[in-house]
Amino acid sequence: MSDPMVVFDRVSKSYGALEVLKGINLEVAPGEVLSLIGPSGSGKSTLLRCVNHLERIDSGAITVDGELIGYRQVGNLAYELPEKLIARQRARIAMVFQNFNLFGHMTVLENVIEAPTQVLGVPRRHAEEHAAAILERVGLGDKLTSYPRMLSGGQQQRVAIARALAMKPKLILFDEPTSALDPELVGEVLDVMRALAEEGMTMMVVTHEMAFARDVCHRVAFMDGGKIVECGPPGEVLANPSHERTRTFLSKVN
């Protein structure tokens, strides 16, 4: 068994009096595709956003590839890292957002090469060739000079995935990647994600697409009220849930 890629150790977080994460323990193995499902407000998006320190956690620890995220541990104290070092950690943890968040003033190609050239210092020419190859792979080889607003939602989300891949991440976080899409465009995004899963990319996917969770993910974690109610292979959690709460949720979404 290789070392886990992501480890959540008793992770808790509150917004004021509202406890959104209550002692989460979870491990994600390298090459594993884990989906987080559950009702809205269950804390699954928050959990995902804590992995790249877009949200601070109040207690517990998150490590990615053995590295404590957002903090430097000295004995029992954890000092928050300076901005530059947090940025360096985030550079290898890619994220794909529900609303795509493509940079509107840049073309598709510029979107994809922005972080490699500006953050990793890859020469522009090099980054362009790499970006063109990735965009070809997600089926957008003919859209390099288009601006995001000219693309459909499905195309925009595929550009966002290409932008994430351009950083050669060790982990990609997907925050409801198909929730803002018209139904007929969901498939093209899921196809790209399926291909990534087959190539062995480590992925954490917050999703409402039960078919994707069942067919592509190695494990499914069902969250409710800030806790992971159950976690296991989709064949167990989705087909034969052991908790009443999971069963009620699944009966509503199916």
């Binding site: 968040n101 500006q118 063109a132």
Partner: protein
């Protein structure tokens, strides 16, 4: 044709049965055309009455249009506008970022600055800077509790030109800060999150992602401010600087050709405004290119070879 067919599918063959296609006639708009003719006639008669009126003193206008004193006044007005606007934009950007800070002290300082500089007449601020020596005879800068101090006579440091730059620039910074803040707030917060998630620092995401997208909001009011500054800068005559308007006034106070010399000044103000407007539309086109429904021009070597 099978007439009894239940499906009334349109067919190209029995065109004779259909009524002829309508020919559409656009609305005529006679009223609009009549209004345009009346307006043009009024404008023309207005121009004729001005051009043919000897009291305007057009020969005098021509005589003083390129007068040395007018030219040096125009030069002062032009560079003072440019310098104070540059100070205004830089200071305004810093103040806008400070005002949006989550630290209460920092945002309080920025808001107090705005309150003071927007709340007092710029004329008073100019006179204040010009008379700074009355309040602080010497200006000192150095490290506290050490002997590393540099001291300078205020009357030497604050020349009329320096007072004009400080007075107009610091005032402009307050107004520009609100314009820039509105631009920065118009950019969706998801853009910053995406930049962060890609490993960009706050400074880089501000510079590369947020500011370029705030520009379409920032530019039109900044153009307004610049054109406004062109004319506000004429206030510097109170601290003995000869700008464009003051130069014209100096001349007509001797030869009493008031109207012709004011026309000379206006011609130059209008010329400068035209140039600034042209520059503004060029900048707007540059930042608006992603809003067009066209692809970017292909300029990458990579794709020329393929």
């Amino acid at each position: 044709m099978d007439v009894s067919s239940p499906s009334p599918a349109p067919s190209n063959e029995n065109q004779t049965d259909q009524p002829p296609l309508l020919t559409y006639v656009p609305i005529r708009g006679y009223g609009r055309k009549a209004a345009a003719i009346v307006l043009a006639a009024i404008l023309l008669s207005f121009l004729v009455s001005i051009a043919g009126n000897d009291n305007f003193g057009w020969p005098v206008v021509g005589q003083y249009l390129f007068d040395d004193r007018i030219m040096s006044g125009l030069f002062l007005t032009s560079w003072l506008t440019v310098v104070t606007m540059v100070i205004g934009v830089v200071l305004g950007t810093i103040l806008a970022i400070m005002a949006m800070s989550t630290n209460n002290v920092i945002s309080f300082v920025a808001n107090t600055y705005l309150w003071f500089f927007r709340g007092t007449p710029v004329l008073v601020q100019l006179i204040f800077w010009y008379n700074l020596a009355a309040l602080f005879p010497d200006l000192s800068i150095g490290i506290p509790f050490t002997s590393l101090w540099v001291s300078i006579d205020t009357n030497v440091a604050i020349t009329p030109v320096m007072a004009a730059i400080l007075g107009l620039g610091l005032n402009e910074g307050a107004y520009m800060s609100e314009i820039i803040r509105s631009g920065l707030m118009s950019v969706d917060s998801g853009q910053r999150q995406a930049a962060k998630s890609l490993g960009m620092t706050n400074g880089k995401s501000l510079w590369r992602i947020v500011i370029p997208q705030a520009m379409p909001i920032i530019i039109p009011p900044t153009g307004n401010q610049t054109i406004g500054m062109l004319k506000t800068s004429s206030l510097v005559s109170v601290i003995a600087l000869s700008d464009l308007l003051y130069s014209a006034q100096t001349i007509y106070s001797r030869n009493f050709q008031t109207i012709p010399l004011l026309i000379v000044a206006c011609i130059w103000y209008l010329t400068a405004t035209s140039i600034l407007t042209a520059i503004q539309s060029r900048i707007e086109r540059h930042y608006g290119r992603s809003l067009l429904q066209t692809d970017a021009p292909v300029r990458w070597r990579l794709f020329r070879s393929s």
